[in-house]
Amino acid sequence: MLTVLVDGIASGMLLFVLAVGLSVTLGLMNFVNLAHGAFGMAGGYVCVVLLNRHGVPFVVCLLAAALFAALLGLLLERVLYRRLYGRDHLDQVLFSIGLVFIAGAVVDWFLGARQQLITLPAWLSGRIELGFVGIGVYRLFLIGLCGAIVLALHLGLVRTRFGSRLRAAVDDAVVARGLGIPVERLFAVTFALGSGLAGLGGALGVEVLGLDPTFPLKYMVYFLIVVAVGGANTVLGPFVAALLLGVVDVAGKYYVPQLGAFAIYTAMVVLLILRPQGLLAKAAAR
């Protein structure tokens, strides 16, 4: 029971780190970016290649994954995404699905379609016995690290000048521009940050979520749920949504495996119908 709960929380936290960048893309620029998972996949593969083929220490791999994904995000944002702001949602959907297909084909071409496995360093593997239950050390590491990221993001958004500008821009981009806030540059930076976090999440998630060329499509729905349920203007909203999602998903797969992913899809549709507020209401009103 406790093991399932901890596993659920750990995967929920991972989902949050993976998806938080998307909430900014959707909320700030009203851009339907279905390719967000591709950045997570990029980070995951950077980590796998460095760790397995070159024997780089795990922590360095994580940093490299985040950095690579952030740079990739910055590049794509400046070169491609920028041209599609304010365009029809259909164009954005087509564009980002196209990116997902390209990313999948490229990864498949160079690294093959099989699931990637990594060997965790000794200090992260094994279990700790807490009373009756054993809890994986890596799960605890995930919870600690992701928890720190959540805290840092929350403080960054609430306490810093960058954070207050970002919140202002999400609330009303037109007025924010009028006040002299460089919304475009703000968005480029945030996009890179979000992509970097996704890359980090992808690297951390190789052990938990798995990694293969279908990763962006497989988890697209999960990211969308996190953002849709959580809303765009806080860190805590998507965080709570991601935790709930992680726990429900893991518990569902553990206790009623015959339902499979059905439970999650149903939950998503029901939630969307019951609670279309937050981000969705905002996007619809524009």
Partner: protein
């Protein structure tokens, strides 16, 4: 001029039977895919409703027709009718869920619903055959006269005939006041009520209509291949449908047909080289089309025609 082009299109479609006698099964598939894209065009191109889950209706139609035939009633036309009715019903039931917000909720709800259906089909192997696919579909001759043959000759004419008839119907519908109202809604949904158009009712109606078209396309696939796989419900199918629509030209009936033909033929040729290669180029095509804007092949053709005249 226009009429001549149209006649040429359909005559060429018919003539492909003798021009490419080796490829009849592929051509039969082309007509089915064209019908699916036509159904998307009614919804996305004319009414401006976004969907990422249109494969739900295609798959429902395919399984409905497949299961009907598997259970011993192999009459093709009644299978099409059943598929259309069931898909339209699903459309009517889900339309309020899809249409209650803006683009984003519509995208996510359609995606979610189609994933639910795909997962349900996957988890109910007793009914759908699960991951192995639905086997044992046996069809009776079309109209009691034409047997489905190994070369795909009957399938070719059957699918082309259904496509042609439903295309004519779609043409009537889109030229009617109903079709004009849909274009108006796509242009400006807030002003249409001022003209006395019940926006909601029109959208629900076109959603169900489009669902029925997709259901018929799915049923055709099940009947002509005598097999249904989970692939019929896949996200890939929904996404490729959108791609074909935009490739051919959004909001024009011939755009849907042209897009389906061009896409399926390109798929056939490129994926014989390498499936990966194909996925990569679809991606590039999607990105390119999104950046370059609409119009597609049809828009390009019209542009060339105008250039030619000037």
């Amino acid at each position: 001029m226009r009429l001549a082009l149209e006649a040429a299109f359909w005559l060429l479609a018919l003539a492909s039977h003798w021009l490419l006698p080796e490829q009849l099964p592929l051509l039969g598939q082309v007509w089915i895919v064209a019908l699916f894209v036509l159904s998307l065009d009614l919804l996305v191109g004319f009414a401006g409703v976004l969907t990422l889950g249109h494969a739900a209706f295609f798959g429902l139609g395919a399984y409905a027709a497949g299961i009907l035939a598997q259970q011993g009633w192999g009459e093709p036309l009644s299978g099409l009718l059943l598929a259309a009715l069931l898909a339209a019903l699903l459309g009517l039931v889900t339309a309020p869920l899809v249409l209650h917000g803006g683009d984003l909720p519509a995208l996510m709800v359609t995606l979610g619903l189609s994933l639910m259906l795909a997962e349900a089909a996957n988890k109910l192997p007793g009914i759908t055959g699960g991951a192995d696919g639905l086997l044992g579909v046996e069809m009776w001759p079309v109209l009691g006269l034409f047997r489905f043959d190994l070369f795909g000759r009957t399938a070719f004419f059957y699918a082309l005939a259904v496509l042609f008839l439903l295309f004519l119907l779609a043409r009537l519908i889109t030229a009617s006041p109903f079709g004009l109202a849909l274009r108006g809604i796509r242009g400006n949904a807030r002003r249409m009520p001022a003209l006395g158009t019940p926006v909601r009712a029109r959208l629900v109606a076109v959603y169900a209509l489009s669902a029925a078209y997709a259901g018929v396309a799915g049923a055709l696939l099940a009947q002509t291949t005598q097999f249904v796989s989970l692939d019929a419900l896949s996200f890939q199918r929904s996404a490729e449908g959108l791609l074909m629509l935009v490739l051919g030209g959004l909001g024009a009936l011939y755009g849907a047909l042209l897009g389906a033909v061009a896409f399926t033929l390109a798929h056939h040729i490129l994926s014989e080289m390498s499936p990966l290669f194909w996925q990569f180029w679809i991606g590039v095509a999607l990105v390119g089309l999104a950046l370059a804007g609409r119009g597609g092949l049809l828009g390009l053709g019209a542009l060339l025609l105008r250039r030619g005249r000037a």
